[in-house]
Symmetry: C2
Subunit: 341 residues, 2 copies
């Protein structure tokens, strides 16, 4: 392990110049810079991040706090963030809070505070005011993804608008008995997304002059299995079966497709189904959906942090770009066979 001193000696400069040349801070003559870089390369020198962090107070490490790893949305966000960070020369330290509250407390008390990270990304996690305050007091930037954190810049798609778009797609096809599978109350705790999507759905119906029928709502847990059972309830009724289902997630929508098949219904002839996400599996199932782009959300979260950590020349530009979403019509939605029914 070559140290900075050896590099300095080989390059014929001081350690201070080496540090400046390699980190890019402060001015170094091109000649000196070249010499240093060559020397460093020859010796296979890599700065010790600990020594560097200790001296500078910067760690080049971002903490990502996330409740699940094994779900599409979360792993996608993580992937986006990771890749983006790697490009910026940052490490990503993962804190997966799938466990109980104890784990969460421990993460905050002992890990995030240990000066290990320069900033944190909280994914679909409603931090308490106290947690936010502590982070702020430490001067650590914080950005949320997919969950509302009071007083913190958060990246979320406009759930109301997305749900409205999905519902309007169905309405535009001439559906009027449109069921909705949304989150149950428990799910609403950490992210209000189920509520917002339901609001968008109901708003679209009202705008089209369609009455909201509570019997056309079924709660589920955002999984395929949950969607399956909810859809069976919805589609199993003997009279006035809905002609379309809008599920608040693609996994639930896929469950619905499977349920319809098991009931002998043909999608989309007998029932149209649409979800939200554009999940990995959606294309395979021919599921119409409104795509959100979680990878992008992860990348964007990093971008925002980078701007705060290393303010560039063109600062404060993308202050509040709305997150993109996009209707993707595939083969699970169509005009109802008999709109009059």
């Amino acid at each position: 392990m070559a140290g900075i001193e050896e590099v300095a000696k080989l390059a014929g400069v001081s350690t201070a110049t080496v540090s400046r040349a390699l980190s890019g801070r402060g001015h170094v003559s091109p000649a000196a810079k070249a010499k240093v870089e060559e020397a460093a390369a020859r010796l296979g020198y890599v700065v010790s991040s600990n020594a560097s962090s200790l001296a500078s107070g910067r760690t080049r490490n971002i903490g990502v706090v996330i409740p699940f790893l094994n779900r599409w949305f979360f792993s996608s966000v993580l992937e986006g963030a990771q890749q983006s960070l790697l490009r910026s020369g940052y490490d990503l330290t993962l804190y997966n809070l799938s466990g109980d509250g104890r784990e969460r407390a421990s993460v905050f008390e002992h890990f995030l505070m240990r000066q290990r990270v320069d900033a944190v990304i909280a994914v679909s996690l409603e931090l308490t005011e106290r947690e936010v305050t502590r982070l702020h007091d430490l001067g650590k930037p914080l950005v949320g993804v997919g969950g509302p954190i009071p007083g913190v810049r958060t990246l979320t798609i406009d759930d109301v608008a997305v749900a409205r778009l999905a519902t309007e797609h169905l309405i535009g096809l001439d559906h009027s008995r449109i069921a909705h599978i949304g989150g149950d109350l428990e799910f609403d705790l950490d992210f209000h997304l189920p509520t917002n999507r339901r609001i968008g759905y109901e708003a679209a119906l009202r705008d089209a002059g369609i009455e909201v029928d509570q019997r056309l709502f079924a709660p589920a847990d955002f999984t395929i299995r949950g969607g399956y059972h909810a859809a069976k309830q919805l589609l199993g009724v003997p009279h006035d079966r809905p002609t379309a289902i809008f599920a608040a997630s693609d996994e639930m929508a896929i469950g619905s497709i499977l349920a319809a098949r098991d009931l002998g219904l043909v999608v989309p002839r007998d029932v149209s189904i649409i979800g939200i996400d554009d999940h990995d599996l959606s294309d395979f199932f021919g599921l119409s959906t409104v795509a959100q782009f979680p990878r992008l959300q992860g990348e964007k979260a990093v971008e925002i942090l980078m701007e705060q950590l290393e303010p560039g020349p063109d600062a404060a530009a993308p202050a509040a770009t709305p997150l993109p979403y996009e209707l993707r019509v595939r083969s699970s939605t169509a005009r109802p066979v008999d709109p009059a029914r």
Copy 2:
């Protein structure tokens, strides 16, 4: 941010004693320990990990290098490792190599070497000899999960045995035309698992006196979609349709179930299907499978590292515990209707 000195003052001891009391290294009287702990708590003191790492050479941080995040096996391993590390007071730094080779080189050259981690876990990644050597030279323990790394302790289920078990389940049911969906060659590069599973399958057949028929093999990419297409090929033949399919992964098995349905076949009446994994979705689809336990594999990898990093009293105990796997019979396998066919 209170420092160690303030804690020492408040507790009426030296900084050395504080360090010892808080880290557990070296002997400290219970009385002193209590005083220190109280003082630390009062001041909200948390050691600066950088200063500690710099002085001690230990980072309490493990690097996990992993090729995918959005696949069941990988996210499960990661989850297990994360949880286990958190319990041991370690951080997890994630290096997701989903990108190209450049990313990989960069991770090794600039990150892992930066003395940021005490050890690394490589998941389903075949490290080069050079990479392994460098890590070893740096004194960093290394353990592999799910992929063979020459000269490195690696955790993998016995793929041959697992495949054999799955196949024997089918044979025991009286199937003899048993197809296999396995990995294509490309997949074999970084983990030889497809080959091993195929070997186990063929061995089981031979042992039962059943001839291996190359036409009953179809390659796929370990996804649901891939399994679907492969199964359609296998099941779409007009004569001598296989009565059972053994897929090398549950996702491919689920794809096969879907394919069978689309062909109008009833599972398991017309065709039995079994996979490997016990994927999240398998229970929902009633898929018989051989469970492996990736979470456990992640946890075990951590255990092994901990033993090397912090040798306990009962060292070197679980040197080579074989990894568990377990046949789970659900509703996708049954006796063929007409074994004679």
